[in-house]
């Protein structure tokens, strides 16, 4: 992060600050001015605040504010820029990308808690090592173990031993996590990985204190209700599923807002509003859970909410042609709009007897369907226009994205029909096509059992009707859908993937053969793609790796395994009182970097 530390100020300045703090401390409380409170909304309930087991976006907002990762992202830099957070500098990476040396800032403390028995508890690298080991504890069953799985020398063995003995040995040293001193950690990887820095910016890798886990952990060792971290905020009040109040962590080391930005007018405005202020400015974050669209929208309009995620169905109420509606702009409401680091693509199950396989007629079938589907229409109908069509498997804002890339699978229903005619998918007297062997052709499209799932299915039905292919829609609850998908039993669907870390690798792995039954939803195992992807993993981001990614993207199109579709916009509305706000593509929330003017 680009900030200066108060401890780096000249000694006379430090003394002056200390004196000023002393004077302020003896002033009556009323003289300190009103608390700055930011009111925020979650459209879905949080789960619990253990970063090792929490897996939903909204819980991630809170854990990101309470705990600290070693790395984070510059608030204004675009494309996103990795910066030190709890670490004192960027990692020192060996030439082969297998050894990372990371140094921690000294003097960072956990918020006071009875678990520390009245002593100040300093954050050390051992806390990170302990927290990463937790991800492998079979009892905890963390959904985030993949972050380190197969990567750190000896870490997987610890989990394997625990499965045998039934007890996870947190005290056993792991060869790949070498504690040089309390503030220095050397990580030894099993294979080249240039993305570890970004992994260490992902909130499941934050540090928890072992004493806290041992004091408050449940039967599985999860600490849902007592989050004790070193971040900018601490948990003040929690009414589960309804209200979360975060209070400023006064123990947090001093930082000064000094982001540079890219020189855009928005950046200049933000810098003018925020430069030189201490981080964080806002004393309290008051989060309410409001699941209904109308309640959220009316709350924002009536001034009951300061910062508001204008998702899906609400977008037309505030946005017209990509811009804020004039009546809202006149009130001073601010819009921060950007493409989310996510992608939706359509896949056809490559193991399915009807649509799968690499024979020419199967490839023709998939490509024809891909070309017959009007992505723009889907964006308009299902997402109220709040998405952007994409051709490349890596979405905008993610390292490796190529805005100039153009897919060979463009919307052309006439050509799609010709392709099917040519490969023997004949139309019968009833107007429906059959397979080349004369058997009936029916394709199943699976969607979630909710409103958007129904809409998607209807858009797809139009596509299949235009081709003369019968389509049936299977609607499933989410857990059933995930199960069927992991077992390669879904014939086709819209698949969405949100970045865990903003590197192309996180998206390209979706098409890697060994990830079938995990997150390779198309069950696509192509030796050429697998070889290219394996090569790319050994490279840092750059033009050389991009060449490989281009070849993978083209291969996906040529085989018709998937068609890239769109990335959705994230529209955030802020009241006029909110200062310095812009939506960051990766950070869940930006509370520490903004301010609020109570007079407005």
């Amino acid at each position: 992060m680009r900030y200066r530390y108060a401890m780096n100020f000249p000694r006379c300045t430090q003394l002056a600050i200390a004196g000023l703090v002393g004077v302020l401390a003896i002033l009556p409380a009323g003289a300190a001015g009103p608390l700055k409170t930011l009111r925020y909304i979650f459209p879905a309930a949080e789960t619990g605040f253990d970063p090792a087991v929490a897996r939903d976006l909204y819980t991630g907002h809170v854990t990101q504010a309470i705990f600290e990762t070693l790395y984070s992202y510059d608030y204004l830099a675009r494309p996103v820029l990795l910066v030190p957070h709890a670490a004192s500098g960027l990692p020192e990476v060996s030439n082969d990308g297998k050894t990372y040396t990371i140094r921690l800032k000294k003097g960072q403390y956990f918020t006071p808690d009875p678990a520390f028995k009245g002593k100040r508890r300093e954050l050390t690298m051992a806390d990170y090592v302990y927290s990463w080991k937790r991800l492998f504890d079979p009892k905890l069953a963390s959904p985030h173990s993949w972050l380190f799985e197969g990567k750190v020398v000896g870490l997987d063995q610890l989990a394997a031993d625990a499965k045998k003995t039934g007890k996870f040995d947190y005290d056993k040293a792991v060869a790949g996590l070498e504690l040089v001193d309390p503030y220095t950690l050397r990580i030894h990887l099993t294979q080249t990985d240039f993305n570890l820095g970004m992994i260490l910016a992902h909130e499941p890798t934050v540090a928890l204190a072992r004493e806290v886990v041992e004091k408050y952990g449940d039967i599985n060792g999860a600490v849902h209700g007592n989050p004790v971290g070193t971040g900018h905020y601490k948990l003040g009040q929690w009414v589960r599923g309804n209200r979360i109040v975060l209070e400023k962590n006064t123990e947090h080391h001093a930082e000064v807002w000094d982001f540079k930005g890219n020189g855009t007018p928005d950046d200049q405005r933000i810098i003018a509003q925020m430069k030189g202020k201490t981080i964080p400015q806002i004393d309290r974050i008051d989060i309410r859970v409001m699941v209904e669209d109308q309640s959220r929208w009316l709350s924002f309009q009536s001034g009951g909410v300061d910062l508001f995620w204008l998702d899906g169905p609400l977008a037309p109420k505030a946005i017209l042609n990509g811009k804020l509606r004039p009546e809202l702009a006149a009130k001073g409401v601010q819009l921060s709009r950007q493409i989310d680091p996510e992608i939706t693509y359509y896949y056809w199950n490559m193991q399915d007897p009807v649509v799968g396989g690499f024979s020419k007629e199967k490839i023709a079938l998939r490509r024809a369907i891909a070309m017959a589907h009007n992505v723009d229409e889907e964006i308009s109908i299902v997402w109220n226009g709040q998405a952007q069509r994409v051709d490349y498997p890596i979405p905008p804002g993610v390292v490796g994205h190529d805005p100039a890339y153009r897919s060979i699978l463009q919307y052309d229903p006439a050509l799609a029909n010709k392709l099917l005619d040519r490969f023997g998918y004949k139309k019968g007297k009833d107007g429906w096509r059959t397979l080349p062997d004369g058997k009936p052709l029916v394709i199943s499209y699976t969607s979630r059992n909710e409103a958007s799932g129904v809409l998607m299915a209807e858009v797809w039905r139009k596509t299949y009707n235009a081709l003369g292919i019968r389509m049936e829609n299977k609607r499933m609850i989410f857990s059933d859908l995930l199960q069927a998908e992991k077992l390669c039993k879904v014939q086709s669907r819209n698949y969405q993937w949100m970045a865990d870390y903003p590197d192309g690798d996180n998206f390209m792995q979706l098409h890697y053969g060994p990830n079938v039954n995990q997150n390779n939803a198309a069950c696509f195992a192509d030796p050429e793609v697998d070889k290219l992807y394996a090569q790319s993993q050994k490279m840092p981001a750059g033009p050389e790796r991009d060449v490989l990614y281009h070849r993978i993207a083209r291969r996906i199109e040529v085989t018709g395994a998937a068609r890239m579709a769109y990335s959705r916009f994230r529209n955030m509305l802020a009241q006029p009182a909110v200062l310095g706000y812009t939506k960051h593509p990766i950070l869940h929330q930006e509370w520490a970097y903004i301010d609020i003017d109570p007079s407005k």
Binding site: P143, R240, E292, S295, G304
Partner: protein
């Protein structure tokens, strides 16, 4: 009386067994496998199996059913799968907000339902009676969603009479500030069917011989209605009110969702969305038990209201 109560309690056991079996079968048939959600998006087969082991869903069905029965007997349903919160804590903490809305609503609904039914019965067959019945039919034809959306928009947002949504820390604040509009909406929705029902109960009585006798004795219409008719109409009214009481345990989930009330109804929906079986089964079992107990209480109340009723 004591023997009657014991017999009724004993009869609850097979009913509860049926409920338990039905809930168990339904969850395992259509409930989905929560391990796939809990495992996260990068999970492999081993990790999913490990989560099943942690949840106990890898056990044979008869073992899972036995665990379920033990949980009912010990009143310990363990922790919610999705949040780790104790199920007992979920129920105890969410019940208060639900009851803050639903108890006043039930009282007001019953009071206004009875008062209006008697008033309408006074003028039965008149234009007023017909007008009210048409209004009730129209009111019943409108979805509660419409009431919520319109009332929230006009009374809370446009006129600013109530908060758009929210919930505070104190009982008085919640009842007088946050629960008022949800209660009014609940009343607007429920008063029409209640009024029609109670009116029919009253009209069933007004043509009885004892009413004619009372009139012949020279009693005033008010006394006849409020004392004689109401006492006899009370039995079906009590049945209706008592039968609705167990529903308080489920809460009014739409009101809770729209007005941000951290009640049990919203929790039920959340549990279903998350395939959180411990929460679903605990609430289902409690509601079933409450229904049976309230049915028993209803029967006991019959005797209190009308001594002619014999409990056998």
């Amino acid at each position: 009386m004591f023997a009657y109560i014991l017999r009724r309690l004993w009869q609850m056991l097979p009913t509860m067994a049926g409920v338990v079996l039905l809930v168990f079968l339904l969850f395992n048939w259509v409930g989905g496998d929560p391990a796939y959600i809990l495992a996260g998006k990068m999970a492999n087969a081993d990790e999913i199996e490990n989560i099943r082991r942690q949840l106990g869903t890898d056990q044979p069905y008869y073992v899972q059913l036995w665990i379920f029965i033990k949980q009912i007997v010990t009143f310990d349903f363990g922790n919610a799968w999705s949040t780790g919160e104790a199920v007992s804590s979920i129920i105890s903490s969410r019940l208060g907000p639900s009851l803050t809305v639903l108890i006043p609503l039930t009282i007001l609904e019953t009071f206004f339902g009875i008062a209006l039914a008697l008033a309408i019965a006074f003028v039965r067959g008149s234009l007023t009676d017909r007008g009210v019945m048409i209004a009730c039919t129209v009111g019943m034809s409108i979805s509660i969603l419409v009431y919520i959306i319109v009332f929230q928009y006009f009374f809370a947002y446009k006129m600013g009479l109530f908060p758009v949504q929210g919930w505070g820390d104190g009982f008085a604040e919640n009842l007088l500030r946050y629960a008022t509009l949800p209660i009014l909406i609940g009343l607007a929705v429920s008063i029409a069917p209640t009024l029609r029902l109670y009116r029919s109960f009253v009209l069933d009585e007004v043509n009885q011989d004892y009413v004619r006798t009372a009139r012949a004795k020279g009693l005033g219409e008010r006394r006849i209605m409020w004392v004689h008719v109401l006492r006899n109409a009370a039995i079906p009214i009590i049945t209706h009110v008592m039968a609705n009481l167990p529903a308080l345990l489920i809460g009014a989930f739409l009101l809770e969702r729209f007005f941000g009330i951290p009640g049990i109804g919203r929790e039920v929906i959340l549990a279903v969305e998350r395939s959180d079986f411990p929460v679903i089964k605990a609430i289902t079992v409690y509601v079933a038990a409450a229904t049976m107990i309230f049915n028993l209480l209803t029967d006991l109340l019959y005797q209190a209201v009308d001594p002619r009723v014999q409990l056998k």
